[in-house]
């Protein structure tokens, strides 16, 4: 038991221990294709009364396919059982704590889903004229205003469908700005702790990546930064707090140095949750900000999407934003809301207007919380992360020993050296305890990284249980029990052969060899 052990949280308190594991799941589920029985069906369609004609009379023969593309043929009852059984083989936030660092897996309020399900939102065609979609336009205009206030920026585009799309949009805005100034700059600076999407987006934005190292505090190394700054630098992409969960204290100095050579500052909003109502990217000196609404504003992650990645900009970039964008119109006689295209717009970045139903969820979340509630979100997220950090300081090395923001990065380096138990083993063993694993092996600059982001919606009792579980895992390994290398043993499947999946690629049922 560690000396930082806290017994101050009442152990007997009911509720809040989100540790249950799926009750089913050890039995393998056949694919829907194996459940298929020729002649079975579940679809039912409207009676249309449209006179029958042969397809051959409507469509030229060389375009018609001789037979229907094969899908599965199952009854509705089988369909329900199949997908319900699959759902029982899946961990989710609603089931239990999901301390996956950098992903902000907080609880998603159900009212947001109810709003997204309103027929007056969900059944609206995106190509309809503005006067028939005034409610939608008002939602988008209000959301843009709220996001600008939260980030301290002047205007935003809601089109980008996810964070990476927002990054690329931001880089194209950067390019448009330099182009407008008649400048050809080639490089974008990224710290070595950055998310992988950053460098990938930089390449697609037509720039070259220059990586700067982190210093001993886990922050951007100012001297190294200055040494790579020149007029060839288009800008810098930063996450603040960074992916180590640490606040870049020198941010004002970074901003000044980058602006001095004519570069722009890009804020990766992946970690915005930590600073809601506390400090704003605009006030730190950033010019471009993307937000991951699915993280910070609690829209469900859907097993890996949909998300939404709006991009907000400072005054000087407003004219370059993607269009058309929703706007409040001054025209008193006509519609209150309509579409405008900024004068020097980089163009569309989405097929329509963005992931609208995700955007409506985010506005709902923001309005329920309000200024006070959003600030409390950041406070509790940071409180929970620091509590975990201190509570587990005796079990793991903390990568950087200073107060963290919303997440903390531990290292299992010593455990690996002493006992042969890797971060991956700890992660897999934790699954047996009913928790989702932390993010492992990221950021890349921390050896055997275990990145924990508890989020604000987990109770002290859940944190206690999570810490207990991790302590137990370490104690077990330290006592010579190395069975964690075989974990997980209680999950729907055991450790998965990833090498075989890549070597013998079976990406569809039809590619199966047997």
């Amino acid at each position: 038991m560690s000396e930082t052990r806290s017994d101050v949280i009442p152990r007997a308190a009911a509720g809040g221990r989100a540790t249950s594991a799926p009750i089913m799941g050890r039995a393998a589920e056949p694919t829907i294709f194996e459940l298929s029985e020729s002649g079975r069906s579940s679809y039912q369609l409207r009676t249309t009364g449209i006179p029958e004609r042969s397809l051959a009379d409507l469509i030229p023969g060389d375009h018609l396919r001789p037979e229907a593309p094969p899908l599965a043929e199952v009854s509705e009852r089988d369909l329900v059982a199949h997908f319900t059984r699959l759902s029982a083989r899946q961990f989710s936030v609603d089931l239990g704590a999901y301390p996956l660092g950098s992903c902000t897996m907080k609880y998603n309020p159900k009212v947001c889903d109810a709003v997204a399900g309103l027929a007056g939102l969900a059944q609206v065609h995106p190509g309809a004229p503005a006067h028939l979609v005034q409610g939608w336009l008002e939602i988008l205009v209000d959301l843009e205003a709220a996001l600008c206030e939260i980030t301290g920026m002047a205007a935003a585009t809601l089109q980008p469908a996810a964070g990476a799309a927002g990054e690329l949009t931001g880089l194209l805005l950067m390019r448009a700005w330099h182009d407008a100034n008649g400048e050809q700059r080639r490089r974008v600076i990224i710290p070595d702790s950055a998310h992988g999407t950053n460098p990938a987006s930089v390449t697609l934005g037509g720039y070259e990546v220059t990586t700067v190292p982190s210093d001993e505090r886990g922050c951007v190394d100012m001297a190294a930064l200055r040494s790579v700054l020149d007029t060839d630098v288009a800008g810098i992409m930063l996450t603040n707090p960074n992916t180590l969960g640490l606040f870049e204290e020198d941010i004002a100095e970074v901003a000044e140095a980058v602006h001095e050579v004519g570069g722009l500052l890009y804020y990766d909003g992946a970690n915005l949750n930590a600073i809601l109502g506390v400090v704003r990217p605009g006030d730190m000196g950033f010019d471009i900000v993307h937000m991951n609404l699915h993280k910070t504003f609690a829209t469900p992650h859907g097993g890996g999407g949909p998300g939404a990645g709006p991009v907000a900009v400072s005054e000087r970039l407003v004219d370059f934003l993607p269009g058309p964008k929703p706007a409040r119109l001054d025209d008193e006689s006509g519609d209150r809301f309509g579409w405008i295209t900024p004068p020097r717009s980089i163009g569309r970045v989405h097929g329509w207007h963005g992931n609208a139903l995700v955007l409506a969820r985010a506005l709902t979340y923001i309005e329920v919380h309000g200024a006070d509630g959003l600030r409390r979100v950041a406070e509790r997220a940071v409180l929970n992360a620091n509590w975990i950090r201190r509570r587990l300081a005796g079990s793991f090395d903390v990568a950087y020993d200073r107060p963290c923001m919303h997440e903390v990065v531990f290292s299992a380096s010593a455990l690996r050296k002493d006992e042969g138990i890797k971060a991956l083993d700890v992660a897999k063993r934790l699954l047996e305890e009913g928790f989702h694993s932390p993010t492992v092996y990221f950021p890349l600059i921390v050896d055997e990284a275990l990145m924990i982001e508890p989020t604000e919606t987990e109770s002290p009792q859940t944190l206690e249980a999570l810490a207990d579980a991790l302590e137990r895992i370490v104690a077990e390994a330290r006592s010579g029990d190395h069975s964690a290398t075989e974990a997980p043993r209680t999950t729907p499947v055991r450790r998965v052969d990833e090498a075989r999946a890549a070597r013998t690629l079976v990406p569809t049922f039809d590619a199966r060899g047997d």
Binding site: G25, S42, L45, R46, T48, P51, L58, L64, P69, E73, L79, V80, A88, Q90, Y98, N108, V115, A119, L121, Q123, H125, P126, G127, P129, Q134, E138, I150, H195, G196, P199, A200, L204, F247, I251, P300, G303, A308, I346, G347, W352, G354, N355, L357, T364, I366, V368, G373, R376, R380, L383, M405, K428, L431, S437, F442, V493, D497, R500, A501, P507
Partner: protein
């Protein structure tokens, strides 16, 4: 006031004490004082759920363009298809909705297997051996398809048919500013692409099938052209039409992309939708985004996992095939459920009914005085464009008053002056009409009657 934070005040105090802090403010001691928000954000105070819900409900009521209240003939990449109760119930399960990307496959077999089933269905509809786990929407899938094509051919010149949806062409143009691809728009003539017989050396050739005006293109000619130039053939294909027409893969496409909204996802004012992406095995290592593969666990039990991960941004970083991380997994799961519900015969029947309805509607409309087909002679499946004698926008406004979402005004898609797909006159007078399996004869007859009055 209202929030979702479980901590009691006493617990917060206890936790702060454990950290040796006197106040929550001290949690942010590392943030320079001068940068901090001083008086709080200028947002309204938090409101209760029912208060916020009531406001959102009243905003929703102000949207009139609803497929559940108006009769929808609007399409253009977003369609009013049947979404049965069973698909809504299963797709709304919180195990699917509130999971994240399946980084820990041992506790993510549900999503992984559902996506594997989706990939199988998407590949079969595309007529190609591999489909990925989804991209954002049809437009983003097209952008990624072109990126793959340029990487594979090593040539940045891209011939794009003007039959590709104007919004998708616009997105392609935006992102080409970063990648430096040279886009050459190939115009339509009477609704189908007029490919150049010589000139230039494209690395990628992009067609749509059917194209956005609804017309069926000669993909055999596109394949021949791609062979002639050693180019990669990318087709933006409508996956519903694939229920009755040959798949783009069958025509020889190297990459098939598409918009999968039709499979269980509501119109939702344009998103979130579902980007479909399929390719040949030769290109699988250039595939963008996530891919689920089948394998086994340590006990030999069948299992699923995301695979060929070395292509992806979190591993390959600036050399990744794409920057995509979050995709549209939930929509992919929903599509697998919807296609499971439809089954082999159901999808074919939906496509057949769309075609029957569209042709019935088309024939009745062009029989009206002054209404003409915009692309005479071209074959279509489920969507077609007509020329109205008065500006289409006026016709559309009048029809809206009668309870019809008349279809898309072409000028809204192409701009007032038209583009490579339609002339300025075609843009002003063109109306793009879509008919899904949900439209009845009574509705179509009423629509035709209303349009007849509206254009006088």
């Amino acid at each position: 006031m209202a929030d979702y934070l479980p901590h009691t005040d006493a617990e917060v105090a206890t936790m702060l004490e454990f950290l040796g802090l006197a106040s929550t403010e001290q949690l942010f001691a590392v943030v320079p004082e001068a940068l901090k928000v001083q008086a709080g954000l200028e947002l309204a105070a938090g409101q209760s759920e029912p208060d916020v819900f009531a406001r959102m409900e009243s905003l929703a009521e102000q949207n009139l363009a609803r497929a559940d209240r108006m009769v929808c003939f609007a399409g253009g990449g977003a369609y009013d298809h049947e979404v049965p109760s069973v698909v809504r119930a299963l797709g709304g399960r919180s195990e699917f909705m509130t999971a994240y990307t399946p980084y820990q496959p041992e506790v993510a077999q549900g999503v992984l297997q559902a996506v594997f089933e989706f990939q199988t269905m998407a590949a079969r509809l595309a007529g190609l051996p591999v489909a990925n786990a989804s991209l954002y929407d049809g437009a983003s899938a097209l952008v990624e398809g072109v990126n793959l094509g340029v990487a594979a051919s090593g040539r940045p010149t891209v011939w794009v048919s003007a039959g590709v949806h104007p919004h998708q062409r616009a997105v392609l143009a935006t992102f080409a500013k970063g990648t430096g691809h040279e886009l050459v728009e190939v115009p339509l003539e009477d609704g189908v692409t007029r490919w150049p017989s010589d000139g230039g050396q494209p690395g990628v050739i992009v067609a749509a099938y059917p194209n956005y005006l609804g017309c069926l293109e000669d993909l055999g000619a596109v394949r021949a052209l791609a062979d002639q130039h050693g180019a990669i053939m990318v087709v933006a294909a409508d996956p519903v039409s694939a229920g009755i027409v040959r798949s783009a893969g069958d025509w020889g496409a190297d990459v098939v992309v598409g918009e999968g909204q039709a499979f269980g996802t509501p119109l939702g004012f344009g998103g979130p939708y579902l980007g479909l992406f399929a390719c040949t095995l030769a290109q699988v290592r250039r595939l963008p985004g996530r891919l689920v593969g089948e394998t086994v666990d340590t006990e030999g039990t069948r299992a699923y996992v995301t695979t060929l991960r070395a292509r992806e941004q979190d591993i390959r970083r600036e050399k990744a095939t794409s920057n995509v991380c979050t995709n549209q997994t939930l929509m992919a799961v929903v599509a697998a459920i919807q296609l499971g519900w439809l089954g082999t015969r159901g999808l074919a029947e939906v496509a057949r009914r769309c075609a029957l309805g569209a042709h019935y509607c088309h024939d009745a409309l062009v029989a009206l005085d002054g209404v003409e087909p915009l692309t005479p002679g071209a074959s279509f499946v489920r969507e077609f464009a007509i020329r109205t004698p008065i500006p289409a926008r006026t016709a559309s406004e009048r029809l809206a008053e009668e309870g019809f979402l008349a279809g898309l005004v072409l000028a809204d898609l192409t701009g007032e002056g038209g583009d490579g797909s339609v002339s300025a006159d075609g843009a002003e007078h063109g109306l793009l009409v879509a008919v899904t399996e949900r439209r009845t004869r009574t509705q179509i007859d009423a629509f035709v009657g209303a349009l007849d009055k509206a254009v006088r």
